[in-house]
């Protein structure tokens, strides 16, 4: 049987043309939901909005599954939906919160692991400082850092998502790192035992 013959023609039924099995969508969600939630959380700076956005992004993906062309990875495709969704939300709000209690709910919902309570408290503070630093960046730098932080994405993919060349990504990344480090250090209440970034 020829490999490139359409499945529907091979087997001649609607079932062969097929609808996406719920388990496949569940796999998609399991593989990418953390990345999408994290992007929306840090991009929007609000856990409730990030929760809603993550739901809406995956629902859009579910509806548009047949439009996925396979030219990009699933992760890149989902990021594109998420970025457009977040930008639309921000345009609708017309204003941005410079400071928010973004991490409260996230860390409260995080199941306790082997971390000591003090450690959890520190991690919570870390999240607040990260959000404050990201909020101080331009949208371009914020998005760039969030995407580059995802090890599954290459500079080429980050460039495709942000509409620029990989070289431009590298150049801007250097400036975004510096700007983030400055803002992050500004928000450091106890420099002697807090997290730090080398500059």
């Amino acid at each position: 049987m020829p490999v490139n013959e359409p499945v529907a023609e091979r087997e001649g039924s609607d079932e062969a043309l097929g609808s996406l099995a719920p388990s496949e969508f569940a796999d998609l969600y399991a593989a990418h939901s953390r990345a999408i939630y994290y992007l929306t959380l840090r991009f929007l700076g609000d856990p409730q909005k990030a929760e809603d956005a993550t739901h809406d992004v995956f629902l859009k993906a579910f509806r548009k599954m047949d439009q996925f062309r396979g030219e990009a990875s699933w992760r890149t495709w989902l990021y594109r939906i998420a970025i457009n969704h977040c930008r639309n939300l921000q345009q609708a709000w017309h204003s941005r919160h410079l400071f928010s209690n973004a991490d409260e709910a996230v860390w409260e919902n995080t199941p306790a692991t082997t971390d000591s309570p003090l450690r959890v408290l520190e991690t919570k503070e870390l999240g607040e400082r990260i959000q404050a630093a990201l909020d101080g960046l331009s949208e371009e730098y914020r998005l760039l850092l969030l995407l580059v932080a995802d090890e599954e994405l290459s500079y080429e993919q980050v460039g495709a998502l942000t509409g620029q060349s990989p070289d431009a990504v590298r150049g801007k990344l250097h400036r975004a790192r510096k700007a983030f480090a400055v803002l992050f250090k500004k928000s450091d209440p106890l420099p002697e035992h807090e997290a730090s970034i080398k500059t």
Binding site: F58, F180, A181
Partner: protein, 79 residues
């Protein structure tokens, strides 16, 4: 009735100093770049379970989507 501590003031002070020292002795988290820090942060972030529940309900109300055209032609890769 106000709760009274079993510790005398000296013991209380000693305990407080001990806690502060413990906090200072926590290993510092050091990251080479902003991305490394964000990666650490992302790894410690969990998606609220409510998202999946809502999604199951919302998607359940919709017809099952067809797979992408290329997948119908050649078969797909895992998501």
């Amino acid at each position: 009735m106000k709760h009274q501590s079993k510790l005398n003031p000296e013991q209380q002070q000693s305990r407080q100093v001990g806690t502060e020292q413990q906090a200072r002795q926590q290993p510092a988290l050091e990251f080479a770049t902003a991305e490394e820090l964000l990666r650490y942060d992302a790894a410690h972030t969990t998606v609220p379970a409510g998202v999946e529940r809502r999604l199951q309900k919302s998607a359940g109300d919709l017809p099952r989507p067809k797979p992408a055209w290329w997948k119908r032609l050649w078969g797909g890769t895992k998501p």
